[in-house]
Structure formats: C-alpha cells, structure tokens
Symmetry: C2
DNA sequence: ACGAAGCGGAGAAGATGTCTCCACTTTTCC
DNA sequence: GGAAAAGTGGAGACATCTTCTCCGCTTCGT
C-alpha cells in the first residue's frame, strides 16, 4: 500500500496505465463525444463520433465497450455540477435571487447540451447515474424553494417539482423548432419568474427581443 | 353540366367513385393514421398504420401514394381550425379573456396531438400547407395581442410571436418526459399568464397539482 | 356470373446502427 | 535496436427498420 507510487491518485483502480497513444486517443474520443452529444443528442452513432475524433470505430469500441459506458464516463461530472450550483445559489443571502440564479444557471447548462437534457429526461442511457443525481439534488432545490416562500418572495403554491420542470420546458422549447435566437429562453424565463412572484407592481424587462415572424422555422 | 347528378357535391373532382369496400378502407386508414400520429408523432411507419387499421400495407400505398399525401389529407382541416379559434377568441368582449381562451384552446389541441406539433414545428411534412396556415393566422394573433395591450391587460413588451412560442413550449414539455399528469400544461399556462399581466395584486390559483417527486420520469 | 376493382402481405431495396475481427502499426522495455 | 505487447483502422457481418412494389387471390357491382 505504501509504495512510492508513480501512478499517483489511483490505488487499486489503475490495473495498467494505458499506452501513451492510447490515452491520447481516449481523450480525443471523449472530446469528440462531448461535442457531438451536446450538439445533436445521444442518438448519434458511435461511427460518427469515431469519425469526428479522427479514429477508427474499433478504437472507440475497445475503450468503451458500449455506447452507455461512453455516455456515463462523459456525464458523470456534469451531473455533479448541478449540486454545486444549488449550493452556490443557497449561499446567496437573498432568497429570491438565489432561486433565480439557480434556475438561470441550470437553464444555461441545459440549453447548451442536448445530450444532457436527453439523459435527464428520457433516461434511455445512464438511468442509475441520473437517479442518484436526482436524489441528491431534490432536497437542495426544496430548500431553495422553501426559503424563498418563507421570505414571501415566491408564491406559496409553487412546489419543488415545478422548478426542474420549468427549466426543462424553457430549454427544450428554445432548442426545438426555434433555434434562430440562441438565448431566447431568457426571455421566457423572465416571464415565468414574473408569474412566480406573489404580487407585482410592474414588469421585469424582457432581456431578449422576441423572434421576428419570419424567424419562426 | 346540368345532369341529375346522383354523386352530389362533386362536379369535376369525382372522376370515379371508389368501390364501397375501398372507401370503407380509406376511412379506416385515415382514422388509424389520426390515432397513431396523434399519439406517437409522424415518424411511425405506414406499415404500422396499416396494421392498426387492419388492412395491408399495399392498400395504404394505393390510396395514398406517399406518406406526405396521407399526412396532408389528415391535417388539412385541423389547420383550418386554428383560424376558427382565433376568430372566436376575438369575439370575446374582454380582451384579456379572449387572448387567454385562444392560448388555452390552442394548447388543448396541440397537447393532445404529437403529429400536429411536429408538423407545425419541424415542417418535415406538409411544409406548404403549414406556411399557408401560418400566414393566415399571424394577423389574427396579432389582433388579439394588440387589443389586450390597448386595454392595458397585457404587458406591453409581449410580441405576437411570443404567443405561439409559449403554447408550443407548454404543450411540448408537458408531453416529453413528464407524461404522468395529463393536463399539467394548464398549471404552467396559468403561471405564464400571471407573468404576462402588467401588474398583479395576488396570484391566480394554479389549476392542476404539481407532479409528485416520484412522478418525474 | 364475370370482368374490373381492390386486397394482403411477402419481400426487394436501401438506410442506418452496433459491434467484431484481424492484418498491420506503434510503443515499451530490455 | 529489436522483439513482444499493446493498440489501431475500417471493412463488413449482422440486425433492425422503412418505404414501396408486385402479383395471385378475393370481393364488388351489374
């Protein structure tokens, strides 16, 4: 156990370090997969990822035995980041601002990543990984909601399940069909947030201009 | 021209009336297609529609030369109904209620019909048909929006393109991933509508209960 | 009752996807 | 420097799925 261990950071796991060129290819594959999945969702073929990475399909399949294995390797850390965002949002002294920043940052992540949305929503891949992440994040969201309601800044009939639903709704819709204006979800997030307050004197200015009629697909 | 014409209602069009069994099958196919498209979108194969209709594939292909032809035959009248809804909404003396009822009825139609949403949003089938319908409906929506704004019932920074977008967003999201609660879109429509008002003393009660945490896919 | 109209569904033809195999190349280590 | 181990590419086996055709048989209408 107490060897000098040149392979720092891995005790039992590192059965054998990959050859240098193999490791380089592994990284290439992960990078390519991230790009392609983010852009076009999880339905792309591994052949396509191989091509995009500049390696052969065989290489991909030697490193990741199935598509699922690749996907899990890729999204493991992404899922963790949700917990971080929730914690940071709770650190915000203003309850309302905390909730808003959580929703904003979640939407930012999800709007830019078709693959992540697909994983969270359809669970066709990485089911278990998502289940664990959800279980951990649920109470964090609940805490944000309760605090904002206790402060009288959030209408009382909002439930914690509404928050992820709204974020999903905004990002999914903004992607499908109306891809013309990239940040269009911000416009509708603002609108929904104005609906989530218990009462309101005026309006929060909408941050992105509406689509022009001809932009609509 | 002035024959006694037993084939009432069709002058030039009816080159030859279909045999009775053929016509019956045609109706079956249309009915089956409506059901399957509504439920599962336009991507289902014609084989599947044939099976669902209880006829052979050959029969489907003889009646509708391509998938597109079947789709157009099916959705022609559905698209017309949008204009009717807009007109009826404008007939409502209260500007706000008119707009709300338009959005509600649109959402009702679209929420229940995956195929229709797909046609309106992705234009993979029936492109021209949709373009015509959109052109006709655009000014009707604009009229509803302007009237509500003139009455001070709708915030001034809402544009007419926001309306179809919001309806699409609500119905699409309500279908994907979270199919558990059928009318869940009503909850979020209410929320958005509360965000669309220029100011607000209290809240409009949310009409559908939120999803339970375990219901979320 | 007979000809024309219509029918079913096997299967051709073509996409697209996952994953294997093995002759060849590159790295590692003595 | 050179042999053994590790890794590579990509053709292609295999599977699935769609669209659409074809033709022997059935049903309808008169």
């Amino acid at each position: 156990m107490t060897e000098n261990s040149a392979d720092c950071g891995a005790d039992v796991r590192a059965v054998r370090p990959l050859r240098r060129d193999a490791e380089r290819n592994r990284q290439r594959i992960l990078k390519a997969a991230a790009e392609v999945f983010n852009e076009r969702g999880l339905d792309v073929s591994l052949d396509e990822i191989a091509r995009h990475a500049g390696v052969g399909v065989g290489t991909v399949y030697r490193r990741f035995r199935t598509k699922e294995e690749l996907i899990e390797a890729l999204f493991m850390d992404r899922l963790d980041s949700v917990a971080t965002i929730a914690d940071e949002a709770y650190a915000n002294p203003d309850a309302w601002c905390g909730l808003v920043s959580f929703m904003e940052r979640m939407a930012e992540i999800m709007a830019g990543d078709v693959g992540l949305r697909q994983m969270l929503m359809f669970a066709t891949y990485g089911r278990d990984l998502v289940a664990v992440a959800r279980q951990r994040n649920e109470p964090l969201v609940a805490r944000l909601v309760q605090r904002a309601q206790a402060a009288g800044q959030l209408r009382a009939d909002i439930q914690r399940t509404d928050i992820p639903f709204i974020v999903f709704m905004l990002t999914e819709a903004a992607h499908l069909g109306y891809a013309a204006t990239p940040g269009i979800w911000r416009r509708y997030l603002t609108l929904v947030l104005d609906g989530m307050q218990p009462r309101r004197e005026g309006v929060t200015p909408l941050p992105v201009v509406a689509m022009r009629p001809d932009e609509m697909e």
